[in-house]
Symmetry: C2
Subunit: 447 residues, 2 copies
């Protein structure tokens, strides 16, 4: 470490940038050219172990050689210089890219993929798919009526139906109008923005350590499931789908048991409500399986699984029975990006050839075993290397994050008082030791 | 031309692709490696003059040398291999990219830019900005109340206010929940998707030729403006902003006079309603000015201007008074993409160094003068090379598009019976002559 973080060079750049953009959320300015693997270098030349990884979106390390090699690939450069409207003129290698990037890791039974440009768009298009499916069911798969076709042009029922997506307290599914309606992590994200009248069920907030609170935890999970079933049965706006994160991330790294998710899926199936799993943050290996929901041992796949962030490509998997009856109902200009699909394929190659899921499980297990031995921190929880713990309050958490950054470890928060670890898949035990040692030092500075 | 379009190779690829994705909207499969300038080559080796250009999103020709050179630039490759979360860790050259890609062409007085990943996201974030601004005004710029902070977490008023965006009949602003609510181009885009109760004013549908219908056209424009003012005054959901396309594109290439837009802005100002101009399709030179709204001679810039498509980068310009009071209210993981910003800067360089706006004006004027001499087609209208005309009905239009494609010209439709020309900025008079000759031949096949 050469300076405080942010240092003078970061501050000078941010002062210039703040003429044009709001920079209040920025931690520091990065020098990505100098960053490497698990280490990010800032504009002042400080080198930090990065356990935040661009809000959980760097998969296999800065300047990964496979990524750099891909940037020199003529097919990659062609895709960059000629951006396809994939719904009109897909490139001739798009079908290969779809197979190599998506179908190779498609959850079993989900034989379709729809690609878009970001995580919010992924969730909103999954919601649209659910509404089209539900509306078709409600009209008995009949043709659209003239009344429906006319009324939708004025945003009125029956063409614009009063259906809903059920989500959970503390959920985060994005920041556009539909995805923000399903979000309930922080008021500052939602206030002043019109929202649909969609319902929320309480998400279980488990107590830790799990083995000391089995009865309590089973009870809050059952309360959540009962609330879900009641809302599905009684909510004024019929529920087309339930959307859930495998681990509520932005909302505080809230976990639930595999049994909870199996029961949740069963309730959805019982009432013919679609079950959407939002793997935008949990997907692509961070939990030790490629998709976090693989750990639930579901009898069959969710109806849709959304992705973005670490996969570089965004979109969702679906079953072919959910494909809209008419074309142009799920559609947009670019419909994804072959550049990001090629990167997604490269990520899968890295995960497989370097056995990164095993690495994540090992280093995640090590971290989960060591963290509870440190003083002051509470509620250590994790799946793979997707780990979190709590401080006594937000002020102590924020101070810890700042103190760690000054000592060369970049880590982020979530929820009210939580520290979330989002290491890359290439994070190893010696990185974990640096993290643990720095954390131990920083915890000594807590009042 | 070697085969019909789509040819056997396109069809074989689409058959494979349709296992995973809906391909019913696809015209043909592209071979971008072989495409060059204004010519697209398909998977069967057919070479077509491209006047559709990936739904109006290719700016300076396939395999433009400046784009290919950029793909070899180390800074570009660094940005590709290390995708920044720009709200947390902007890259150290991001501020330069913002200046070179955005501020250089920012509408006068709009000194801020917010970047995202697609056109729908650009519009939705502009809408969010308008709602935050309006809600702050309505509460007298006071602090949020506890009631507001609590109610928004349940998607209820007052925290989730019943405010609206006013848009127009035939408008297209995107396909996510907010932008789709503001859209009214085709029922198939909207049906079965829940929408907000936001109002629509009639957009004037002018008669052509303009000089023969001056009184009628003035009258429909005044009717539209009166409807706008009445909705602003009386709509149950207070109007936070009016959003309008300079030329309604997806909805049928509907134009209005500069005077209409000046009056529309004046009405917005009079009632303290924000004026958002959606330049997703019209922006970046196709109309002969960099932004289409420059042709209106407004006394001051619109409050926000959104962009995407041909600019490769998506987002919107805004005035600093619209910057949200608190951080994290306009925010997401990536907040845009330095890769696409660098391409946007390269586009501006091409536009300036090759004087492409002059080219667009010249070739556009030539096309606009020649098209009315052809038989059968009606209502020739345009601004620069952003030109359209109508056939007698949709069936004749669709046949014309197919016939032209078989003869080596790729062109698209919009509205019910309209052909829309969306040439690249590098489209020249000899390309226009090929287009006109092919059109003349294809028109002879109309019944």
């Amino acid at each position: 470490m050469k300076t405080a973080v942010p240092g003078p060079e970061s501050k000078a750049i941010l002062q210039r940038l703040s003429q044009y953009q709001d920079t209040r959320s920025v931690f520091f300015v990065a020098d990505f050219e100098k960053s490497k693997g698990n280490y990010i270098v800032d504009a002042d030349g400080n080198t930090m172990l990065d356990v935040f990884a661009q809000i959980a979106s760097i998969p296999v390390g800065y300047n990964n050689p496979a990524f750099l090699a891909l940037a020199k690939d003529p097919a990659f450069q062609t895709a960059l210089a000629n951006r396809a409207a994939l719904g009109v003129n897909p490139n001739k290698d798009w079908v290969d890219q779809v197979e190599k990037a998506f179908m190779r890791v498609a959850p079993k039974g989900l034989d379709q993929v729809f690609t878009v440009m970001c995580g919010s768009c992924a969730n909103e298009n999954a919601f649209k798919t659910a509404f089209m499916y539900k509306a078709a069911k409600l009209r008995g798969d009949a043709e659209f009526t003239m009344d429906e076709l006319n009324s939708c042009m004025n945003n009125q029922a029956p063409g614009s139906p009063d259906l809903s997506i059920l989500s959970f307290s503390q959920a985060f599914h994005g920041r556009l109008f539909g995805s923000l309606t399903a979000t309930a992590s922080k008021a500052i994200h939602k206030i002043d923005i019109p929202a649909f009248n969609w319902p929320k069920a309480p998400f279980p907030l488990l107590k830790y350590p799990l083995d000391e609170h089995q009865d309590y935890n089973r009870s809050v999970e059952q309360q959540s499931l009962q609330a879900v079933e009641q809302l599905i049965k009684e909510n004024k706006q019929p529920v087309a789908a339930v959307v859930v994160e495998p681990i509520q991330s932005e909302g505080g790294d809230n976990h639930a048991s595999p049994s909870y998710f199996r029961q949740l899926q069963a309730i959805c199936k019982k009432h013919d409500v679609l079950f959407i799993v939002d793997e935008v943050q949990t997907g692509v290996g961070g939990t030790g399986t490629f998709w976090a929901h693989e750990a639930w041992d579901l009898p069959e796949s969710p109806d849709m699984v959304t992705f973005s962030k670490k996969f570089q490509a965004a979109g969702f998997f679906l079953n072919s029975r959910l494909r809209p009856t008419q074309p142009y109902r799920l559609y947009n200009t670019w419909m994804g990006d072959p550049v990001r699909a090629m990167q997604a394929a490269a990520i899968i190659n890295e995960v497989e050839s370097k056995d990164l899921l095993t690495n994540v499980k090992q280093v995640g297990g090590y971290l989960q075993s060591q963290l509870p031995t440190l003083p002051t921190l509470a509620n250590v929880r994790g799946q793979g290397a997707f780990i979190a713990f709590d401080l006594v309050d937000g002020a102590h958490r924020d101070k810890l994050l700042t103190d760690m950054r000054q000592r060369g470890v970049n880590v982020g928060g979530c929820g009210d008082r939580t520290v979330r670890l989002r290491p890359m898949l290439t994070f190893q035990q010696h990185h974990a030791d640096i993290f643990l040692n720095t954390l131990e030092d920083a915890l000594k500075l807590q009042q």
